[in-house]
């Protein structure tokens, strides 16, 4: 039995090609018809991959034909890669662990792989080989996440801001947030904060219409621009992104208000260029000021840390590839010991 993977990803195909070969409802049946005993399609925004087991060799072109979304002529020379045997296992383990992702260490792919596997198992297109392969992949991904720092830190400006807010306030549910300036980046940051439980949102903008529109969009309330400074007595997080040419907040302006809230920190996210908040504000006790550069720098630092963990992750993966290869070879020699459709979790415990 050949275990193999055929696919294309963000590494070698643009989004148009990925869309074209994204698979369809009939892909499973088509894959079986062209000789695959077991087949699973993993289709995400960054990759389209077929993991299959077959007794005879199924060509890459045949697999590609099963994935084409429409019946029209091939508009692309398919840039497919193909991995067989232990290389196929190694590739899936890397994919499930987030090593092959566009953002190294992202964890969404593991959920997508689990979903694809569950769907294939439910329809019966995934049999004992794919079962073993995927169960092992989930176990590897879990081990990589536990024993390395591959998923550590946020890698986008919005998520860095949310992570920092969490590090300062813990539970964000009771945090009061003021957004100064209704820009696109501040809206993304607010949405990230809302996803972590922030409920009290206030929006203040020079143009009241835009402020009100954003307040409505994020379920917050609009504050008149002249009143935003007074809000600093109450709020926990201030997000600024106005187009002001001069700073709107500096040490002498903020200090008197802090005396009234000495035991509550104030987190200021200044994503405006030029900056809305003078850097000397960071020197005040209990104030944590981050501008766009410092957020970007933390995101880059996290990405570098993740990349530095790749070698450790690869080591874990290569151990599992060797074990998996040995297990499959053993099972091929005594096939009667395994049932055709084993129950999830029995063979590979802890996945």
């Amino acid at each position: 039995m050949n275990l193999f993977c055929v696919g294309l990803s963000h590494h070698n195909a643009d989004v148009e090609a990925r869309e074209y070969f994204a698979g369809h409802v009939e892909s499973d049946r088509a894959l079986r018809n062209c000789g695959c005993n077991e087949a699973l399609v993993l289709s995400t925004c960054n990759r389209v991959e077929v993991y299959a087991a077959s007794e005879k060799r199924v060509s890459t072109d045949e697999i590609a034909r099963c994935l084409v979304r429409d019946d029209g002529p091939h508009r692309f020379a398919p840039p497919f890669y193909r991995y067989e045997g232990e290389k196929c296992a190694q590739h899936l383990f890397r994919v499930a662990s987030g090593l092959d992702s566009m953002v190294v260490g992202e964890t969404e792919i593991l959920g997508q792989a689990k979903k694809a596997y569950e769907a294939a198992r439910a329809t019966g297109v995934a049999g004992r080989y794919l079962h073993r392969l995927f169960q092992r992949a989930f176990r590897v991904a879990k081990q990589v996440r536990t024993h390395t720092e591959i998923t550590r830190g946020a890698v986008s400006v919005g998520s860095v801001a949310v992570d920092l807010a969490h590090k300062i306030f813990g539970d964000l549910q009771n945090c009061k947030v003021l957004v100064l300036g209704a820009g696109e980046t501040s809206e993304r940051t607010i949405r990230a904060l809302v996803s972590r439980g922030v409920a009290d949102l206030r929006v203040s903008n020079r143009s009241p219409e835009r402020g009100e529109a954003l307040a409505l969009a994020v379920n917050g309330r609009a504050i008149a621009f002249e009143q935003w400074l007074g809000q600093c007595r109450e709020i926990d997080i201030l997000i600024t992104s106005t187009s002001s040419e001069v700073p709107l907040l500096w040490q002498e302006k903020l200090a008197p208000m802090l005396r009234e809230r000495i035991d509550r920190p104030l987190f200021i996210i200044d994503i405006a260029v030029p900056r809305d908040v003078a850097p000397d504000v960071n020197a005040l006790d209990g104030v944590y000021l981050y501008d766009i550069d410092s957020l970007q720098s933390i995101a880059e630092q996290s990405l570098a840390t993740r990349r530095a963990q790749v070698a450790a992750a690869e080591q874990i993966i290569s151990q599992h590839v060797a074990e998996f290869d040995e297990m499959i070879t053993r099972e091929l020699n005594c096939p009667a010991q395994s049932s055709e459709h084993p129950t999830v979790g029995i063979v590979e415990q802890g996945s």
């Binding site: 830190g153 969490h166 933390i298 530095a308």
Partner: protein
């Protein structure tokens, strides 16, 4: 024989430190379970040591500076075991272990394990007074450790230089809440210890009373300052460190005078 138990206990705490150091060097820092178990094992050996010593003395084993230091180290580990997981401060083990090791190494290496000049007869009020005060020291020590953690976290947030440890430290507000609770625990227990001192029924040296009241006032002031908003959280954290250093020095003074004072 009992000293061997203390040595094994110290080794357990050293293992927790070594594990933390190795993990930090490798850029991976997951001290959760390992540190808790290493400190837990060290705590068991500490308890065994104090139990054997207590049986031999026929009273609470706090008759000399050596025993007092070990009792404080035991109280610190006890508070860590109770407070650490409860307040999701499992990283505290990484900070607790060095303090316990320092105290126990000093106790083991310094020539301070000298029997009291006279065999002290058991006095339940005196033992209650001394032991409850030392348990309060455990809470003050943990507040000091939480203070160190707060300052480390605060510094990294201020400077924007986030190290591996940053991702494993609890949020600032959680740490400050833990500091406040530990201060209240320590202050409450210490007050209880101080009040019970009046029922000892034996005259105590005035310097000992002054030192004890001094520590009580110091922590009372920190709590008062925290609630009246005199001090920002960062200053409260720093005061917890200064307060515990001062309290430890005064404890040495109290124990020294107690050893030279024969009731």
């Amino acid at each position: 024989m009992d000293r061997y138990l203390l040595i094994v206990s110290t080794v357990c705490f050293l293992v927790a430190i070594a594990h933390t150091a190795l993990e930090m060097r490798g850029g991976i820092f997951r001290p959760m379970r390992f540190n808790f178990f290493a400190v837990g094992l060290g705590f068991i050996f500490q308890t065994a040591f104090l139990s054997i010593r207590g049986h031999a003395l026929g009273r609470c084993p706090i008759t000399n500076l050596f025993e007092v230091i070990v009792f404080v180290a035991w109280s610190i580990a006890l508070f860590y075991m109770v407070v650490g997981p409860g307040y999701r401060l499992s990283l505290m083990g990484a900070f607790t272990a060095p303090l316990v090791v320092l105290l126990q190494l000093f106790a083991l290496l310094a020539p301070i394990d000298k029997p009291h000049p006279v065999r002290i007869r058991a006095n339940s009020w005196l033992e209650f007074h001394a032991s409850i005060s030392l348990v309060a020291y455990g809470a003050f020590a943990l507040a000091c450790i939480a203070g160190v953690m707060y300052l480390v976290q605060e510094r990294q947030l201020k400077t924007h230089h986030l190290h591996s440890i940053f991702y494993h430290l609890p949020p600032l507000t959680d740490l400050f809440a833990a500091i406040t609770r530990l201060l209240w625990w320590g202050f409450g227990l210490y007050t209880l210890g101080l009040i019970s001192g009046f029922f000892v029924g034996e005259p105590l040296p005035w310097i000992q009373i002054m030192c004890a009241i001094g520590v009580w006032f110091l922590y009372g002031l920190i709590l008062q300052g925290r609630y009246l908003h005199w001090f920002a959280p960062k200053r409260v954290a720093a005061l917890c460190i200064i307060g515990f250093s001062a309290a430890l020095t005064l404890l040495w003074g109290i124990t020294f005078t107690a050893q030279t004072h024969t009731p």
